[in-house]
């Protein structure tokens, strides 16, 4: 009984979906002829599905509107999923079962490309505009399988009022950064906040510091690791981890670092309980809900003792095309509209995110976003550390950082473990560093 009821329901839903599509198609097939844009446009009605997990409404509406100018009879079905479930398994299951959307926003285009699930995007116009540094991670055997909608970076966000009250200038090198921490701590304020109940907030501290230390010392670190000419326990990561250890050993983090989460971290920063947060650019957007407009936030990168820094520039929320889509051509057209340079600012502004293609300028609400954009063009940047390591190595790297922060002491033999894991799982790597 129950079963047939459910079956009937799902079949019914499918029919309803087709029926509404057809209804619109039959209704006004003349509409498409009005549009001068419709080069390859068909008058046939169709539905394009887009699966995603983060809402960017203003942009999505504009994209849909523009797409309908080209295909008046098209319906875009935006399917939103819970991010964690979608990225960690659901999407893969959908692809394997042949049930995935036509346009898939995802985090691992290269692996999907290798498996043949997503289509080659190398020749699409916006792919040519994508910043070169971002491409390698989403490529497999020279073909590009996804283009990120946004790019993220990390660094130190600070409460300008606390810095001004204590007479601290923006640190220009590691020693000044340490001195600033000491001064804040002496004033009875927590220098740096972590909310390690959401473990990524601790992880990102280590990632940011190690990234700057490692790639400043050796920009070709990943390739050298891959070729075996550099080792995990070499001077690069040793230097980075010693910096992390120093912060922890000096007691710069909040006492409740391991029992609060990201939401409480934001609240404490907004309440002025801590002076700095090492996080990503999205932090600015997440903070706006918690603070008055007068609350001023500054940004600076982690610099080494000589004042040199390398920033993270990592693609996020990548657009890929389902290779088995029935509407592949139309999906390509939709993707082109998604990357339209007049529409992308709508996306980036609401997300407080950085552009991934050239020729896009955004008028951000947050002043410090401008500082980030300027620094990104002034300083060297590269894919986030770990982007070219296997998952096991990355997990161990995160564990090592968490352990160092918890123990206020770093165990150098962890680097040997990283090397071991890398060697074991190296063959699973999809993207090879150049």
């Amino acid at each position: 009984m129950k079963k047939s009821w459910g079956l009937a329901l799902s079949v019914g839903a499918a029919i309803a979906l087709i029926a509404t599509g057809c209804g619109k198609g039959n209704g006004d097939s003349s509409a498409s002829s009005q549009s001068g844009l419709s080069g390859g446009a068909t008058s046939k009605a169709f539905t394009i599905t887009v699966s995603y997990w983060e809402e960017r409404k203003a942009w999505a509406d504009a994209v849909e509107q523009k797409f309908k100018q080209k295909y008046p009879n098209a319906v875009i079905d935006w399917k939103k999923y819970e991010g964690d479930k979608y990225v960690n398994g659901l999407l893969t299951s959908q692809l394997a079962a042949g049930q995935a959307a036509d346009i898939i926003i995802n985090q691992s285009p290269a692996a999907y490309g290798k498996a043949g699930y997503v289509a080659d995007m190398t020749d699409l116009p916006f792919a040519a505009d994508e910043f070169e540094g971002l491409k390698s991670q989403d490529s497999y055997e020279g073909k590009l399988y996804g283009v990120p909608l946004e790019s993220v970076t990390t660094g130190v966000f600070y409460n300008k009022k606390i810095f001004a009250d204590l007479g601290i200038n923006t640190p220009q090198n590691w020693n000044e950064f340490i001195a600033a921490n000491d001064k804040i701590k002496a004033a009875g304020i927590t220098p740096i906040l972590i909310g390690a109940k959401d473990s990524w907030t601790a992880n990102i501290v280590g990632v940011t510091i190690n990234h700057s230390a490692v790639y400043t010392a050796n920009p070709g670190f990943d390739k050298a690791i891959h070729d075996g000419t550099a080792k995990f326990n070499g001077q690069e990561l040793t230097k980075g981890m010693k910096m992390v250890e120093q912060l922890a050993a000096n007691g710069y983090f909040n006492k409740d670092a391991f029992s609060i989460g990201y939401d409480q971290l934001r609240q404490q920063f907004a309440d002025g309980k801590g002076a700095m947060v090492i996080n990503g650019n999205w932090f600015l957007g997440d903070l706006t809900a918690k603070v008055q407009p007068s609350f001023e936030i500054g940004y600076f990168p982690i610099r080494d003792e000589n004042g040199k820094a390398t920033l993270v520039a990592g693609g996020d929320k990548k657009v890929s095309l389902n290779a088995k889509s029935e509407h592949l051509e139309q999906a390509k057209d939709l993707a082109v509209i998604m990357f339209d340079k007049s529409l992308l600012p709508l996306y980036l502004k609401t997300a407080n995110a950085l552009p991934t293609v050239s020729g896009v300028s955004v008028d951000y609400d947050q002043k410090s976003m401008k500082e980030i954009v300027d620094l990104l063009s002034a300083l060297p940047s590269s894919q986030q550390i770990g982007a070219f390591w296997p998952g096991s190595t990355n997990t161990k790297f995160g564990d090592m950082i968490a352990q160092t922060l918890a123990d206020k002491k770093w165990n150098p033999s962890d680097l040997d473990q990283l090397q071991k894991l890398y060697d074991t799982d190296k063959s699973t790597l999809v993207n090879i560093p150049q």
Binding site: N88, G89, T92, L95, S108, A111, Y112, K114, A115, Y117, A196, K197, S199, K255, D256, A257, F258, S259, I260, G261, P390, G391, S392, N394, T395, D399, A402, Q403, L405, A406, D407, Q417, T424, D425, S427, T428, V430
Partner: protein, 292 residues
């Protein structure tokens, strides 16, 4: 002989619907993924057959030793706390108390709510600026103030406390049901023979309670071995791996390492370990059960 045969078929017909549904939706998916335990597989690209390498690798996993220790610690603690607590609560609730109905309800409430929200609340109660520390401070016990889930020494004990809070009512209710199923005749007979108090508990209540006690121990065992949601939400296995359990480790291998083949192998091995523990427990406790 023929009657026995028919009897068997009727019995089978009673058991089959449950068995079929179960095998279709639980066993089949699990065993159909068994193949992957012999492959190197990220869950996306096609699996690569590598024989027993995944199984060998588990024994070299550095965090496995700690996870095993943590799981064992958690298990022993919950069994040692759970047994007397559940039985004690059930015995107390079985007395003619005025507020019995209310108390039963209250004890069971923790079981009603979602683990996600409960973890959040417990995290807030035991956090550094939380109410427990405020209370300790108020009592002048500042030496006791600490970040309960956030320090290596106390994190696992805080988990055990949280778990005990959540399971106490549940355990008590199972024992209570067992207690109330004991026929009064049994006590009558004992009373006539002059047994009361401890003696009556030891020789009447406890043996007749054995099936319920088996149930709670079984649940504690399974719950302890599969414990991973609360540490996943509250500490993600930290700080410094102090709340990393075997189940959480498998979860991480599957979703964070993106090595599903390896995770499947770990899952299969773990399955075997739990199966052995369970069989041992059931075998051991069956001997103690009496039927009447």
């Amino acid at each position: 002989m023929r009657i026995q045969h028919k009897d068997f078929l009727v019995s089978l017909a009673f058991v089959l619907p449950a068995l079929v549904l179960f095998i279709l939706f639980v066993h089949f998916p699990f065993f159909s993924s068994l193949y992957y335990s012999f492959t190197q597989w990220d869950g996306i690209t096609s699996p690569n057959f590598i024989g027993f390498d995944n199984y060998k690798r588990i024994f070299t996993e550095e965090s496995l030793i700690q996870a095993t220790k943590n799981t064992a610690y958690f298990l022993v603690a919950t069994l040692l706390i759970g047994n007397p607590l559940f039985i004690g609560l059930a015995l107390a609730l079985n007395r003619p108390l005025r507020t019995r109905g209310l108390l039963r309800t209250v004890y069971y409430l923790p079981q009603i709510m979602s683990i996600v929200v409960m973890s959040m609340i417990w995290g807030a109660i035991l956090q550094y600026d939380g109410i427990v520390n405020a209370l300790l401070h108020g009592l002048g016990l500042d030496g006791w103030v600490r970040d309960w889930f956030g320090s290596r020494r106390t994190a696992m004990n805080a988990m055990i406390l949280f778990n005990t809070w959540q399971s106490a009512g549940f355990g008590a209710i199972i024992v209570l049901a067992g207690l109330q199923a004991i026929p009064r005749d049994a006590y009558e007979a004992a009373r006539i023979e002059g047994a009361a108090g401890w003696k009556s508990f030891r020789y009447i209540t406890l043996p007749l309670l054995a099936p319920s006690i088996t149930i709670i121990n079984f649940l504690l065992l399974i719950g302890g071995l599969k414990y991973f949601e609360a540490p996943l939400i509250l500490t993600n296995g930290g700080p410094g791996g102090s709340t990393m359990t075997i189940s959480l480790l498998i979860y991480r291998i599957a979703f964070k390492y993106q090595t599903l083949g390896y995770a499947t192998a770990a899952g299969v091995l773990f399955f075997v370990v739990i199966a052995i523990c369970t069989l041992a427990l059931l075998h051991f406790s069956r001997k103690k059960e009496v039927e009447y």
